[in-house]
């Protein structure tokens, strides 16, 4: 009998713990205020986290109710989350989408259901459906970071390598075009290797190790994002080589720390926080007046970050 009671009480404790978890995760919201739904690709990546938090903060200040969800770059999950936004009678949707082509139908459905969509960070391949598409100028950003790369190497020139992002990603293509529009004009610089590391730090580490074996005279590495640049930094360090210049792209906190310590030459900061706030402001404007007062496609310039101005930036935002 005692044994059975022990079992039953274990079960009851389990149920109570479960209910406690449930209630802890829930908070009763004020349903009288209009809801803005913010969808970002992930909540465990500093870039998207900063973007989502900035948008949420601005929307709360403007008197909206806010919900932030992540679609994990899964177009089907994004579709379900947009359905949930429609069902909750959201007033507006701030969306960092899960694919330029795969997101069109979902954005169209939300618009049809009367929810204006404001796209941030990534555009979709169609005009006139979203109310705004605000993205960072990847081409300009790539050009300024490549110019800094060329300047820092100087007239001595030499051989350099490139780490590319995922080849199917439009931003990877735009960035490499931007790099080459500057670097190809430098007669003293010669690219000896270009490898895709799929935006990943560990892949960049392995690819860089291989490239260092094949090309002993490397003077620099241009990376398509900060994560890959930091992978390259680690590989160069573990090989015990000095005087290899590395540049990144994005302006992540880790990259800023690496610039401050001198491991990374430069990066370019994508103004994610600024873009998120702009989108919420335009959504607010649209809900109040029926128009955003801006063109649908808006491109925001990226800032060059070097050791000279690294303290001016924090968490994808210019703070000074």
């Amino acid at each position: 009998m005692v044994r059975r009671y022990r079992r039953t009480s274990t079960l009851i404790v389990c149920v109570l713990v479960y209910l406690a978890l449930f209630v802890a995760g829930c908070r009763r919201a004020d349903f009288s205020r209009p809801l803005i739904v913010i969808l970002v690709p992930s909540q465990d990546n500093p870039f998207f986290k900063a973007e989502g938090e900035a948008a949420a903060e601005r929307a709360l200040t403007l008197g909206y109710r806010v919900r932030v969800d992540a679609h994990n770059d899964d177009a089907y999950r994004q579709d379900n989350l947009i359905d949930a936004a429609i069902a909750s009678n959201a007033a507006a949707l701030i969306l960092d989408n899960a694919g330029a082509e795969a997101s069109i139908a979902a954005v169209r459905r939300a618009t049809k259901a009367g929810i204006p969509c404001f796209l941030i960070d990534r555009a979709i391949d169609i005009d006139g459906v979203a109310k705004a598409q605000i993205i960072a100028d990847n081409h300009q950003g790539a050009k300024v970071v490549a110019a800094e790369f060329a300047r820092a190497i100087g007239v001595r020139g030499g051989e350099y390598a490139e780490l590319l992002g995922r080849e199917s990603d439009t931003n990877a293509q735009i960035r490499t075009k931007g790099f080459h529009s500057v670097l190809d004009k430098q007669p003293s610089l010669k690219m000896v290797s270009a490898q895709s590391a799929n935006w990943s730090q560990s892949e960049a580490f392995q690819k860089t190790e291989t490239m260092l074996q094949a090309h002993a005279n490397l003077v620099g590495i241009v990376a398509g994002n900060d994560t890959m640049a930091l992978g390259a930094v680690a590989a160069v360090k573990s090989a015990g080589i000095k005087n290899i210049l590395i540049t990144g792209f994005d302006g992540s906190p880790d990259a800023l720390a690496a610039i401050a310590s001198g491991d990374l030459q430069a990066t370019t900061m994508q103004p994610a926080v600024l873009i998120a706030r702009l989108a919420v402001d335009e959504a607010n404007q649209f809900l109040k007046t029926g128009r955003t007062g801006k063109a649908e496609r808006q491109v925001i310039a990226c800032d060059l970050v070097t050791k000279a101005n690294v303290t001016d930036y924090r968490d994808f935002e210019k703070i000074r």
């Binding site: 713990v17 802890a24 995760g25 829930c26 908070r27 379900n80 082509e101």
Partner: protein
């Protein structure tokens, strides 16, 4: 049991009725949890119990329910199918390829109508299902390993078809005569999405198949005791093969519905869907050892998971908590399942005694 009860006969009656009540509660636990969840979310969010949201909810549930219905037969026969998510992804990509790239016949590109694209998708997905069934029943590979292998094969094939890219604009062009694919996932019938009707039709067919046909009995027999089933003359390999074919068919259906909903086919679609389907089957009270469970349980299990997922999103619960809560629910479900089978054997003497009294 209690001091107030004096005679042994009364005590027996009391024990029998309380044992019955406990067992009934345990058996109906999935539907009880579902009702509790519905009440909870309705009280927390004013937009939860609206026709609009219920229709959307049913549409989301349909995806995991269709996979879970297919998975039920596999699990009832003592197997497991990890490949369903990848097969769904592959199915969408095949339909996407045929609709947007066409088929090359004799050097010229031919755009077949939607029906052909759909049939082709089923055909290729059934080949994966056949491969699963053949590997498990003929080559003797363990179901977990065989379907883990086909999980990778189907996912790789889906990525290869487009080189990792998305096939957009699946609505088709009237100049090519291949419009209408978007109807599958986006049109409504009597106020409910077509995919929900497909789920109910499939469920009705599967429930009859499991409970009323020889095939259904054979599935239970194979899962309950494979050796005994073989000795009783059941063609065990054939039964197993059929379950994997049916599971692949359901997966292909899901792939088509999702591609139609998104009007786009992405090769990563369906990642970890197999886990949702298995969770729904287990929540519905089907034993992973095979031989015990029901199709209706899987349907209710899929509803529990779907209501939980959508409700938590609508309440604005953080994504990380959502994952934790889902895990807790699955673990609890299996724990209660164990409790039920233990109590059932313990209460058996009381129950038979009680029924004996009724006979008198």
């Amino acid at each position: 049991m209690s001091a107030a009860i004096s005679t042994p006969a009364q005590a027996g009656k009391f024990a029998a009725s309380s044992a019955r009540a406990v067992l009934w509660l345990l058996r109906a636990r999935a539907i009880l949890v579902l009702v509790l969840l519905l009440v909870f979310f309705t009280s927390m969010s004013p937009t939860f119990l609206t026709t609009n949201n219920i229709s959307i909810l049913a549409k989301h549930v349909a995806i995991s329910a269709i996979l879970a219905i297919g998975m039920s037969f596999v699990v009832l026969a003592g197997g497991i199918d990890l490949s369903v998510g990848s097969v769904a992804g592959l199915g969408g990509m095949i339909a996407g390829y045929v609709l947007t790239q066409g088929i090359i016949i004799g050097g010229s590109i031919y755009y077949p109508p939607v029906v052909v694209a759909v049939l082709l998708t089923f055909a290729i997905c059934l080949v994966v299902g056949f491969l699963n069934g053949w590997l498990i029943s003929k080559a003797g590979v363990a179901p977990f390993i065989a379907t883990l292998g086909t999980l990778y094969i189907a996912r790789g094939a889906a990525l290869l078809i487009s080189n990792g890219k998305t096939f957009p604009n699946l609505a088709g062009l009237s100049s090519r005569g291949n419009t209408g694919f978007d109807l599958l996932g986006q049109s409504f019938l009597l106020g409910l999405p077509v995919s929900v009707w497909i789920m109910f039709l499939l469920f009705a067919a599967a429930a009859i198949l499991a409970a009323k046909t020889p095939f259904g009995r054979h599935v239970y027999a194979v899962g309950g005791n494979e050796r005994a089933a073989r000795l009783a003359g059941i063609r065990v390999p054939r039964v197993k093969l059929m379950t994997y074919l049916f599971s692949a068919f359901c997966a292909a259906l899901v792939g088509l519905i999702i591609a139609s909903q998104l009007e786009a086919a992405h090769p990563a679609t369906g990642e970890s869907f197999e886990l949702n389907a298995i969770a729904a089957v287990v929540l519905g009270g089907t034993s992973l050892m095979g031989g015990r469970g029901s199709v209706v349980g899987s349907l209710i299990g899929a509803f529990v998971i779907g209501v939980l997922a959508d409700g938590l999103v609508m309440l604005g619960v953080s994504e990380f908590w959502q994952i934790v809560i889902k895990g807790v629910v699955i673990v609890m479900a299996v724990a209660v399942d164990q409790l039920q089978s233990r109590l059932q054997s313990k209460f058996l003497p009381y129950l038979s005694q009680a029924s004996g009294e009724v006979g008198n």
